[in-house]
């Protein structure tokens, strides 16, 4: 079980310590409707995309589009990092991209609805490279009436 950095194997912990993380001014948390009335999109940073889409490259802050009906067999991963497990994703898409779990939560009325389109970034981006894309993405989400984003790392 993974835990805090000082409890991890040294090699892995040192790799994670070297990743630069900026600190941002606090962002006010937006209020919203009850979950049963929300429309939720999944935003992954696992470097996922449809087979045939442009693979991610180092420094790439852009996103790829994953329509809700995308068959699991069409999704591949081109994250540049080799420092995380991929066998879980190979076995079960949902362990990295919980699209079927979200679908089930909509079906049992826990969640209002799911977005018609979901998205993936490739998490090893410099934040400034992703910021303009995220701003554009917010507009697309609003156009799809999305009022909640579930951010899933890898």
């Amino acid at each position: 079980m993974v835990k805090r950095l000082d409890e991890m194997p040294e090699v892995e912990a040192n790799h994670l310590r070297r990743i630069e993380c900026p600190t941002y001014d606090d962002t006010p948390l937006l209020p919203g409707k009850p979950l049963a009335e929300r429309r939720v999109a999944i935003i992954s940073t696992a470097g996922l995309h449809r087979r045939g889409d442009r693979p991610f490259r180092p420094g790439d802050g852009s996103y790829r589009v994953i329509p809700e009906q995308t068959p699991a067999n069409e999704l591949v991963m081109s994250h540049i990092s080799v420092n995380f497990d991929r066998t879980g994703f190979q076995q079960d898409l949902n362990v990295a991209f919980p699209i079927d779990r979200l679908r089930e939560l909509v079906a049992d009325d826990t969640v209002g609805s799911m977005a018609s389109v979901h998205y993936s970034f490739m998490g090893a981006f410099p934040p400034e490279a992703a910021q303009p894309h995220a701003k554009h993405l917010a507009g697309l989400l609003k156009a799809d009436k999305v009022d909640a984003a579930l951010l899933v790392p890898v």
Binding site: R17, T23, G32, R51, V76, D85, T110
Partner: protein
């Protein structure tokens, strides 16, 4: 990841994120985070366990009701590590012979890869657009001659790794994910080729080759093998 929470919430989209590295999240301070103790690469915890995954998703989404942030909430469930039977040996004889080649190894795994794809109903191979013999050829050419473009090589290698590990998951006694990765790095000709390729990439005048050689070819946990190879 946490940066996206700031960017989207500031543009009017309420966000909640799963956090895999608490220290990073404590620094970035995104609006809402659910910290989980799962392995990197498995943010929902356990493959093929829908109830477990559903509980994680629900716990994250429940944080959307909070407006008193930034908040980091610790997820209470843990994943116990898969039983790791020491002494597990790959049941398929992949031991190289004098005349063996990377191409032959790739060919030997095809039946197991096909079986894995049929069982899972999917494959994650297919980033490079190459078939596996062609991807293997690219690695061989990189070792023996001119280095191809870093991006093409990276995509081919990622596809080959996925092909090998998916194939191994269909072996008669597949062991655990951990033992299969150990098998990959210690017993396959492909891994030996990647370890031999690393110094060549690191010494290239092309900065993209150096990124590949130094960062995105060999996992940090396997780097110790480079010196030995």
């Amino acid at each position: 990841m946490g940066a996206l929470g700031h960017f989207l919430e500031r543009e009017g989209i309420p966000t909640v994120g799963i956090s895999l590295v608490r220290e990073h999240t404590e620094t970035v301070r995104p609006p809402r985070a659910l910290w989980v103790t799962f392995d990197l690469g498995r943010p929902l915890g356990i493959p093929d366990d829908p109830p477990f995954q559903r509980r994680v998703v629900k716990a994250a989404l429940d944080l959307l009701a909070r407006t008193d942030g930034p908040i980091i909430v610790d997820y209470p469930e843990f994943v116990t590590e898969e039983a790791d039977f020491t002494g597990w040996a790959c049941p398929i004889n992949l031991a190289p012979t004098e005349v063996d080649t990377l191409a032959a190894e790739i060919d030997r795994l095809a039946a197991w890869y096909d079986r894995a794809s049929a069982t899972n109903g999917r494959t994650t191979v297919g980033v490079s657009g190459l078939d596996m013999p062609a991807a293997g050829m690219l690695v061989t050419q990189a070792l023996d001659g001119e280095l191809p473009a870093a991006q093409a090589l990276k995509e081919a290698v990622d596809d080959l790794k996925a092909y090998y590990l998916e194939a191994a998951s269909a072996f008669p006694d597949p062991g655990t994910a951990k033992t299969r990765k150990e098998w990959f790095w210690s017993e396959t000709r492909l891994a030996a080729a990647l370890l031999a390729l690393q110094p060549k990439l690191a010494a290239s005048s092309d900065p993209q080759h150096r990124i590949l050689g130094n960062l995105t070819l060999i996992p940090a946990t396997e780097r110790h093998r480079v010196d030995r190879s």
